[in-house]
Structures are given as structure tokens and as C-alpha cells.
């Protein structure tokens, strides 16, 4: 893996602008692709390896992935102040927009069909969300089928059993981590013995 390039000193305002743009144009998800385009493809401020590392961390940490990713890239480029600028630039414009949209919605919400319409939008959005999960499930069987079992445990806990989310996540995370650690250990033993699995 190549050593990370020593970051150029990107001016804070130039760091903030792409995040402003991403925050305002990112409809319905898929934001990390935009970040890749702005920071790796268009500006070459960070390397592809740095981007992938940042993306992975942002996905396993709690919090919106895109916020964590912005914080990470800001940190790589300008340290703590860079993190702060990136996250604020990403968040503040869409916060203002979404509040204005709710105000506008309040003007029309006396018409019954508006609620039907919004319910249809929500249903399609749920389908979109589910498609992300389904794609993840299909890609998760690289190391065996146990990840499907883990995902199924979470779904049964919160959807079928209607248990509270926090204990479900904690319990199932422990199981997932134990299996993954065990598998990793066995894989390293096999590798040390020089056997190819």
C-alpha cells in the first residue's frame, strides 16, 4: 500500500465548497460516489486508497456515513479544523432546505391526496433502502453464509419480535464479531501452515 501523500494545504473555503454542493445535490443517497468524484477524480486531493480507507471507517462507525466521510476527508486534508468545516458545509445548507420544504408542505397538507402521495413516496424510498440491503446481502457471502444469518437475526429482532433496537444491535454485533474473529484466526492458521484453502 503506498504511503499516503503528504496533504497539500487546501484552503478551508475550497474544502467547504464541494461539500456544500454535495449536501445540496445529493438526493436519496449514493453520496459517497459524489465525494469520490469531487475529491479523487476532479481534484486529486486524496488518493483512491485514502478514499477507500475513509469510506470503510465511515461505514462501521455510528452516524450518517456521509457525515463521517466528510469528517474523515476534512481531517486528512486539514486536520481538526478541516473536519469541522467539512461537516458544517455538508450539513447546514440541506438543513435549511429541508425546513423550508416542511414549511411549504404545511401549506398544502389539508388536501387528503397529498398524504397519499407522500405515502407512495415513502414506500418507494423504503424500496430503495431495502434494495441497498438486498445488494449488501448478495455481496456478503464471500466468507460463507453466516452474514445472512446475522442480518436475519437483526431483522427478526426488530421487525418480527418488535424488540428495542439497542439491545438487539449489541447482542447481534457481539455474535457477528465473534464469528468474524474466529474465522479470521482459522484463516491465519491455515495460511501459516502453507495450505491453500
Amino acid at each position: 500500500m503506498p504511503a499516503p501523500q503528504s496533504p497539500q494545504k487546501v484552503p478551508l473555503i475550497q474544502l467547504a465548497l464541494p461539500f456544500c454542493k454535495i449536501g445540496l445535490t445529493s438526493f436519496g443517497g449514493g453520496l459517497s460516489a459524489w465525494v469520490y468524484r469531487e475529491f479523487v477524480t476532479m481534484r486529486s486531493w486524496i488518493t483512491e486508497d485514502e478514499f477507500l480507507g475513509a469510506l470503510t471507517i465511515s461505514q462501521i462507525l455510528p452516524g450518517p456515513n456521509i457525515v463521517n466521510l466528510a469528517m474523515n476527508i476534512g481531517y486528512v486534508l486539514r486536520g481538526t479544523i478541516g473536519s469541522l468545516f467539512s461537516v458544517l458545509a455538508l450539513m447546514i445548507p440541506p438543513i435549511v432546505v429541508i425546513i423550508l420544504m416542511s414549511v411549504g408542505f404545511a401549506q398544502v397538507d389539508q388536501y387528503p391526496w397529498i398524504h397519499e402521495f407522500m405515502e407512495g413516496v415513502a414506500a418507494a424510498a423504503m424500496g430503495m433502502t431495502a434494495s441497498v440491503a438486498i445488494r449488501n446481502i448478495r455481496n456478503s457471502t464471500k466468507f460463507g453464509y453466516w452474514p445472512i444469518g446475522i442480518s436475519a437475526l437483526v431483522v427478526s429482532g426488530i421487525f418480527i419480535m418488535k424488540w428495542p433496537i439497542v439491545p438487539v444491535v449489541l447482542m447481534v454485533s457481539i455474535i457477528g464479531l465473534l464469528i468474524a474473529k474466529n474465522q479470521h484466526k482459522r484463516a491465519s492458521i491455515i495460511n501459516e501452515d502453507g495450505q491453500v484453502k
Partner: protein, 182 residues
């Protein structure tokens, strides 16, 4: 409820969710629904669905749902408090882990921790979408719309979301018009 106790409750509801929202804001929508509709009765089912749909049709992270729930309950102050409660704890945690993780990302444990947690996030995302669908009031048609949308996005991952979301809204209006309210 007094203002102060509402603010406190907002923080008590959203701050813990912030710390478990692994896999992004989508994973906690199910619990936000439970807390705001069933537990605290801040919103009716239909209000929740409206706000949820706005959060999906608006730009920015889907977790801005929290911002407009706060707005609905207590205007600007509510929006600010709810947003901070949802975004600040996870961000502070992420900041420190990013600082430390910066030097550790080639370590072997990094990979198995990721492998172990990824399916949990997947389950949360799927479970959350099912919980919200169960909360819709339109009978079978939202499930039908969701299934078609899911199929579209699985088959064509790069589809622009907005036309599909709008088509979903139109489909629901038309189903209601032709088959009457369920």
C-alpha cells in the same frame, strides 16, 4: 409538556440512537418511528410518514428526518436540538476514532471487525424499511410500490432516485383514486 422537558426528552430519545446508528441514518428509522409515534405520541402515523417522505425527497443525509421532527415539535429550537442530539454524539465519537484509526487501518483486526459488523448494518437497514412499511396506512399498495422500487434499484443501481420516488407517490394517489381508500 413544558418546553424544557420536551427538549430534554428530544435529547434522551435521539442521542442514544446517534451512537447506535451503525450503517448510517437509515438503520435507525424504525426506532425513530417507534419512539416518536408509539412511545411518545409526538406524531401521528400519517405525520410521521409525511415527514419521512419529505426527508427522502430533500437533499442531504436521510437522518435530517430528525431535524424536521424537531421542527414540527418546537420550531427552530426543536430542529436545532434534535439535530444536535442526533449528529453530535456520533460525530464526536467518529472524530476520535478517525484520529486514532488513521494510524491503524492496515492492522488485521480492522478487517474482521468490519466483516463482523457489516451484516448487522445490513439487517438494520432492511429491518427499518420493513418497520416503516408496516406503519403505512394504505393497505397492500405501499408494499407493492416498495417492491417495484426495490426491483428497479437492484436491477439499475444508478437510477436517479427522484423520478422513482415521484412515480411511487403518483402510483399511490392513483390506486387510492381507483380503488378507494382501504
Amino acid at each position: 409538556m413544558t418546553d424544557e422537558s420536551l427538549y430534554l426528552t428530544l435529547i434522551k430519545v435521539f442521542a442514544p440512537l446517534s451512537l447506535i446508528s451503525i450503517g448510517g441514518g437509515q438503520s435507525i428509522v424504525g426506532d425513530i418511528h417507534y419512539q416518536t409515534v408509539s412511545l411518545h405520541h409526538w406524531l401521528t402515523q400519517s405525520q410521521f410518514i409525511d415527514l419521512f417522505a419529505i426527508s427522502r425527497a430533500a437533499p442531504g443525509p436521510g437522518a435530517l428526518l430528525t431535524t424536521i421532527i424537531g421542527w414540527q415539535l418546537a420550531s427552530w429550537k426543536g430542529a436545532m436540538i434534535a439535530s444536535l442530539a442526533l449528529f453530535l454524539p456520533s460525530s464526536v465519537l467518529a472524530y476520535f476514532i478517525i484520529r486514532v484509526g488513521h494510524t491503524k487501518r492496515d492492522r488485521p483486526w480492522y478487517r474482521w471487525v468490519q466483516n463482523g459488523l457489516a451484516p448487522v448494518a445490513t439487517g438494520l437497514i432492511l429491518g427499518s424499511s420493513l418497520v416503516v412499511l408496516r406503519g403505512t396506512t394504505g393497505g397492500l399498495s405501499p408494499w407493492f410500490i416498495a417492491a417495484i422500487a426495490a426491483a428497479i434499484f437492484i436491477r439499475f443501481a444508478k437510477t436517479h432516485p427522484i423520478p422513482v420516488l415521484l412515480a411511487g407517490g403518483c402510483a399511490q394517489v392513483m390506486i387510492g383514486f381507483f380503488f378507494g381508500p382501504n
